[in-house]
């Protein structure tokens, strides 16, 4: 007898670190205590998207969304909602700037404007149960392909859909498959690139944690299309939960004969194993990735010739690309290509992070504007601050300023704006972000992750970093901007792989859109956003200061003096510019110049 209520609890890495497993245990205990175990089923799922508000529960069939749960809430929740049928308003999601909670998932703007293809099963299935994936049309596309389609028909369908690589490059997936299909060498391989490394990006981890079978099914379809007999999921070791769920999914698929010899009785043989990467950013680059699988030092190499694995043909696609494949086969290329823009079809998953109210994981149709993502889905900037820029494409991408917020999400449009689609990291920045400091942060990252093979990348990133550090410290001089630009172009031209070729993008796009901020740092020794410590001073506005002593009590340097109810003062010799006084002041009396 099925249960009448399913409680979907998000058990992604984020929510687990917020205590989701304890919540699950106490839910089960309370449900048993009330004798409701035949009515209410607790189902662990992958990321539901609004991870910043975890731990999260979605109660089906009503679709009621509970968030920020604590263990002590659970007794009341079970008693009120599951026993008495009265959903608990106090634990529901409240949209930024509103007062009354919105109970239903579908009416929360964050979810309502999304369109799920790659994340179609998020929050709906237990990733550890293959039957639940199958019940949502899982492995139907594989059965269709194996029983009624020739490899070239599969490739034609994927080509016609317009699907392009979701790892960032945007290469047409069908064309990639076709070239490997034509290659006479055997055996052939397929690889899933799950070596996600951009700071703040967690799209691939969420897909693998929420729905590992969608990746397995996509890879198996791809393997049939190109004639591959084995596959690897290149998954980084820092994602232990994803590794665990993927391994379990592979084992279950083997048990059902969906991997291994004679899949679904069709005579087609294919199997997958996980390759655990050690977490070097450069391994996301395909030539370095295959070197890593082969057991060599992961250094990229020149292309062409085309990337091979043990000198044999290999198709390497990103997690999200693979997860799209079964849907394209089931629903057809025509349906898929109706979604999106002229050159960018389907949807894209983004992880929204930074200065944004609804940080989390979103999947949106291509062509949606950045404004819709930031304001409608993301709920805007916290604290009523001004939007400054959104950074897409991680350390390889660029900054997009407010003037370009109406730009549609599309591979070509984002590239024209000096950024890139990238794998889906989207970092939103408010007015208190310094664009010199931000560029420095990304160059610091790529400098650290450069494999060191090309001098231009290894030494060039260090030289960029030195100049940016100098500017932040108030030591910038005339000619620095021009030097940054010249160096950036040299690094782009002379580096072998994508890491080096794209590492100057944050600097170049910051210079293109926020040049005045660089000039202010160099010429006026001023940081307009009030971030660079060497260029700012903290002082107290005597008009606004009420003399409450809060800042003085919190100052770690004891640099603030003043009697109660009298305006206070900051001793500039003692001040280390930590910003605590500005954070604790209730009257906005601390001025940063």
């Amino acid at each position: 007898m099925p249960h009448i209520t399913n409680v979907m609890i998000c058990t992604c890495t984020n929510c687990i670190s917020n205590g989701a497993l304890e919540i699950r245990d106490s839910l089960e205990t309370e449900i048993r205590k009330q004798g409701l175990e035949d009515d209410v089923l607790v189902v662990p799922t992958g990321a539901s998207g609004l991870c910043v508000n975890g731990p999260i529960l979605i109660v089906q069939p009503e679709g009621i969304f509970y968030q920020k749960l604590k263990k002590e809430h659970i007794q009341e929740l079970v008693e009120e909602h599951f026993l008495k049928g009265r959903p608990v308003k106090a634990l529901m999601y409240v949209p930024p700037g509103q007062e009354s909670p919105i109970p239903e998932l579908q009416s929360i703007p964050f979810f309502k404007d999304q369109r799920l293809i790659a994340l179609r099963n998020r929050g709906l299935i237990d990733p550890d149960r293959i039957d639940e994936y199958i019940a949502r049309d899982g492995y139907k596309a594989l059965a269709k392909v194996l029983t009624s389609m020739k490899p070239e028909e599969v490739i034609a369908e994927v080509s016609k859909s317009g699907l392009r690589g979701r790892g960032g490059g945007g290469f047409p997936t069908g064309r990639k498959w076709e070239s490997r299909w034509k290659d006479p060498r055997t055996p052939k391989y397929v690889v899933c690139n799950a070596d996600e490394g951009d700071p703040g990006a967690f799209m691939d981890r969420s897909i693998v944690e929420a729905d590992p079978h969608s990746v397995i099914e996509g890879m198996t379809i791809g393997a049939y299309a190109v004639g591959a007999s084995s596959g690897y999921v290149y998954l980084r070791m820092e994602y232990p939960l994803a590794v665990k769920r993927m391994q379990l999914a592979i084992d279950q698929a083997r048990d059902y004969g969906l991997l291994g010899k004679d899949i679904l009785g069709s005579g087609f043989d294919f199997d997958i194993q996980i390759f655990k990467g050690a977490g070097a950013f450069v391994c996301g680059e395909t030539t370095a990735l295959v070197a890593s699988i082969e057991g060599r030092i992961p250094e990229p190499r020149q292309r062409p010739p085309r990337t091979t694995l043990w000198d044999k043909p290999v198709v390497i696609n990103n997690v999200e690309t693979w997860a799209n494949v079964p849907v394209i086969i089931n629903w057809g290329a025509d349906w898929f290509s109706q979604i999106g823009t002229e050159t960018s079809k389907g949807t894209k998953v983004f992880s929204l992070a930074g200065n944004i109210n609804n940080a989390g994981l979103v999947e949106v149709p291509m062509g949606i504007t950045l404004r819709q993502i930031v304001y409608d889905i993301g709920g805007g900037i916290p604290g009523g601050k001004q939007f400054k820029a959104v950074q897409t494409g991680g350390p390889s991408g660029g900054f997009i300023p407010a003037s370009l917020l109406d730009l549609p999400v599309d591979y070509e449009r984002l590239a024209e704006a000096g950024s890139m689609m990238g794998s889906g990291g989207m970092v939103v920045m408010d007015e208190n972000t310094c664009m010199v400091e931000m560029a420095k942060y990304f160059v610091e990252f790529t400098n650290d992750e450069s494999c060191g093979k090309c001098t231009s990348c290894r030494e060039g990133s260090k030289a960029l970093l030195d100049i940016l550090e100098r500017i932040c410290e108030g030591q910038g001089k005339e000619g620095d901007i021009e030097l940054l630009e010249e160096l950036a172009h040299a690094i782009k031209d002379a580096s072998l792989c994508g890491l080096g070729q794209s590492l100057p993008n944050p600097v170049l796009s910051a210079l293109a859109h926020f040049r005045d901020e660089y000039e202010a740092h160099i010429r006026e020794k001023r940081c307009p956003a009030g971030v660079c410590k060497a260029l700012i001073t903290f002082s107290i506005d005597a008009e606004k200061c009420k003399g409450c002593r809060v800042c003085a009590k919190n100052c770690p340097q004891e640099a603030i003096s003043g009697q109660a109810k009298e305006p206070h003062e900051i001793d500039q010799d003692k001040c280390i510019k930590c910003g605590v006084c500005a954070d604790v002041c209730k009257f906005d009396a601390v001025v940063i110049v």
Binding site: I4, Q60, P87, L124, A135
Partner: protein, 127 residues
């Protein structure tokens, strides 16, 4: 576990289809048992149990059974609302497990409203 054939996929899916429909919230018809304190005290749990048994017996896949709170008319509990797509919901009052079984076979399966147990069709105006 035995290796499966393409036709087995549908069988595996059907086995838990109703659970999946519940999570997607999509169905042909929804049976809402009002389980406020008043409803529970008047015997709503037994009414719900009767519905779950009938659903299982009939093997229907497109019917959702769910609970809601007090419908407002506490003196006439246990109450049930039957909602169908594009039709006004029907509220039944003073229910017992036997009455629930009759509603199931006549209304849920055959589409005929059981007038003697029905209070009204439609719902209150909100906002």
């Amino acid at each position: 576990m035995a290796k499966i054939k393409p036709e087995d996929l549908a069988r595996i899916g059907d086995r838990i289809k109703r659970t999946m429909l519940l999570r997607e919230g999509s169905c042909r018809l929804k049976i809402i048992v009002h389980m406020g304190t008043c409803g529970i005290a008047a015997g709503a749990r037994n009414v719900m149990k009767a519905f779950t048994e009938e659903i299982d017996k009939a093997g229907v896949q497109d019917v959702l059974l769910t609970i809601s709170s007090c419908a407002g008319l506490c003196s006439r509990e246990p109450m049930v609302t039957i909602e169908e797509k594009d039709k006004p919901g029907v509220k039944y009052v003073d229910l017992t497990p036997d009455k629930a079984r009759k509603i199931f076979s006549e209304h849920v399966l055959a589409g005929k409203i059981v007038k003697e147990y029905a209070l009204a069709a439609g719902s209150e105006r909100t906002l």
